[in-house]
């Protein structure tokens, strides 16, 4: 049972990381980035390539991958988001879907259709906690994401840059009037988001194989998690992700492992049917 919980929490932490990336962008520019799962995939591939082909030490690979994705994040927002920033919401969503298609297939061309495997920092051994065998990578995931969430809370609430980014997210016009360079804040938001995805990718890679398809379903589930938690809410994204990770693993173990992927969405629809704005949802009222 402990094993399951740790598994679930770890997977949940990954969902939370990806969901966080989605929510940060959505808050800033009211756009859902459907390519976020592919960002994770890219991060994993870059790290894998650095480790396997270039034989770099794993930690270095992790760090470089995150940095590479940071650059990518900037490029992505310049090419795909910027020309569309005035367009209706659905147009932007579709174009991020286009980007995700592009990335998935380019990845397939570059790295081939065969899944890659690269071991994380701990190799394949499990460690023992009491009576249970636990995959140390899971613990690493929990540890790192925990630290990250603390860091993020500090960054966004205590640092000047973080608060500028929050201001931009809440009201672009007002922020601009205060002298904040909105386009730069937006760029930072995208960069941060893709770094989160890269981190999720490198943490996850040792648990599963790295393949061009790894991002798709994961991205969708992370999106579902952010909605369950209440779209637009940062704690919502984190809690939603963790919740989803645990529910998924428990359902797969006790109900049916065949329908594992479906549980995330069943939970989603149930939550939405009861709480149309998720657990901590944004309260939007339309002026009549």
């Amino acid at each position: 049972m402990l094993q399951l919980l740790i598994n679930g929490l770890a997977m949940g932490a990954i969902y939370a990381l990806v969901a966080l990336g989605i929510v940060v962008i959505a808050n800033a520019v009211n756009v859902v980035n459907f390519a976020q799962g592919e960002n994770l995939m890219l991060g994993a591939f870059v790290a894998a390539t650095l480790t396997l082909t270039f034989k770099l030490p794993i930690l270095a690979a992790y760090v470089i991958s995150v940095i590479v994705l940071a650059f990518y994040g900037y490029v992505f927002q310049r090419l795909a988001y910027y020309p569309l920033r005035q367009k209706p919401f659905i147009t932007i969503i579709i174009s991020t879907i286009g980007v995700s298609m592009f990335l998935k297939n380019i990845a397939r061309i570059i790295w081939g259709a065969q899944p890659l495997y690269f071991s994380g920092l701990f190799g394949e051994k499990s460690i023992m906690i009491g009576r249970f065998a636990v995959n140390p990578q899971h613990l690493l995931i929990l540890g790192i994401t925990g630290v990250l969430f603390l860091f993020q809370h500090y960054f966004f609430n205590r640092t000047y840059l973080g608060r500028k980014m929050q201001a931009t997210a809440q009201d672009q016009e007002a922020a601009a009037l205060m002298g904040i360079k909105v386009s730069r804040m937006i760029a930072f938001t995208f960069i941060y988001s893709s770094m989160l995805a890269a981190l999720a990718g490198v943490l996850l890679a040792p648990v599963f194989y790295v393949s061009a398809d790894m991002g798709g379903m994961l991205g969708l589930k992370a999106f579902a998690a952010s909605i369950i938690g209440g779209f637009g809410s940062v704690p919502g994204a984190i809690l939603g992700g963790l919740f989803l990770g645990i529910v998924e693993i428990l359902c797969a173990a006790y109900v049916s492992s065949l329908y594992k992927d479906a549980f995330a969405f069943i939970v989603l629809i149930l939550v939405l049917a009861l709480l149309p704005r998720g657990l901590f949802g944004e309260k939007i009222s339309t002026k009549v």
């Binding site: 859902v32 659905i90 579709i94 479906a262 069943i266 629809i269 009549v288």
Partner: protein, 324 residues
């Protein structure tokens, strides 16, 4: 005078080409592609109701497509029904699913709705893959018999083409009929301004759920046609990716118009064939293409040619210059 004549000639030419198209194509492979595009056109027209006319995002259309295909295939193959009885049931089964997602969706909008419909579609696909006793699981349903009209068997690519063309024409007529009616206006009113629509007496619940059901019905009918012209179906076809393709067809062709989804479907089904030489780069380019289309013609092809669109206005200026 001359213009009218030219227009009529153009239409006559189009009609002529449509009538002899299968004979103009070199082999059954290409005929199959054309037939597939006709089926997707019908399914895309379904999506057009909930998205184009009522303004609600739905990424579940492939799911409805699949429900129709499976219902029809299983009724005929396992329960030994005839096609003509299975077809309406397939449509209704899909419509029931449309209601099933339509009701919880009532309170949702934009990203919540998008995600809920994605989730619903994925759940449907998982059921297709895993409920083996009912659906034959991942191996799919084989040897689905073709459609029979009386004693005539619609099993050749040419025969199927005319049959599907007829159905497409019917679907277009129904869409046109709804577009120009109180029902169509009520869909559009909900899309434009729900609150004003409600204050004018439009029942939002009924309109939205009915719109979902109608969309799903078209999807289901398309699915049945697909099953009986392809003779084999499997869960892989009815994926979220397929829902995206369908959605893109509506968007690229022109949402909220009668011809838009048809143009989009035909274009996006034929394009991979025409671009076959690009091989594995094809899908990547589709992705880029989608982004470019969203940037340069987000309202679709039909809008480009309408009075406000770039091509339409250019055509008007050409016409004005030529009449001077």
């Amino acid at each position: 005078m001359k213009n009218r004549l030219l227009q009529k000639l153009a239409w006559a030419l189009l009609l002529g080409v449509l009538l002899v198209l299968p004979h103009l194509l070199p082999n059954n492979y290409y005929r199959g592609v054309v037939n597939l595009s006709l089926i997707y056109a019908i399914v895309a027209m379904g999506l057009n109701f909930i998205y184009g006319y009522t303004g609600y995002i739905s990424f579940a259309q492939a799911g409805f497509f699949g429900v129709g295909a499976y219902t029809s295939a299983l009724l005929v193959v396992d329960a030994h029904w005839g096609f003509w009885s299975a077809l309406p049931i397939a449509g209704l089964a899909a419509a029931a699913c449309g209601v099933a997602i339509g009701i919880p969706a009532l309170k949702l909008s934009s990203h919540y709705l998008a995600m809920a419909t994605i989730g619903f579609g994925i759940i449907i696909q998982m059921v297709m893959q895993n409920w083996e006793r009912l659906t034959h699981g991942a191996s799919g349903v084989h040897d689905i018999p073709s459609i029979t009209i009386g004693t005539y068997n619609v099993d050749s690519a040419v025969g199927q083409y005319y049959f599907l063309l007829g159905f497409l024409a019917l679907a277009m007529f129904v869409t046109w009929a709804i577009d120009n009616s109180k029902l169509g206006r009520s869909f559009k009113a909900v899309r434009e301004d729900e609150i004003a629509a409600s204050s004018a007496g439009i029942d939002l619940t009924f309109t939205k759920v009915f719109s979902f059901a109608l969309s799903a019905f078209f999807g289901g009918v398309g699915g049945s046609l697909y099953a009986h012209t392809s003779s084999y179906i499997s869960p892989d076809t009815f994926s979220f990716d397929q829902s995206i393709v369908l959605f893109t067809m509506v968007l690229v062709g022109g949402a909220g118009t009668v011809c838009g989804p048809v143009i989009g479907a035909i274009g996006l089904t034929l394009a991979p064939e025409l671009l076959r030489f690009l091989k594995e780069y094809y899908m990547a380019l589709v992705g880029v293409g989608i982004v470019l289309i969203m940037i340069y013609m987000p309202q679709g092809v039909v809008h480009l040619f309408s009075q406000d669109g770039r091509v339409g206005r250019w055509l008007q200026s050409v016409k004005q210059r030529s009449t001077r």
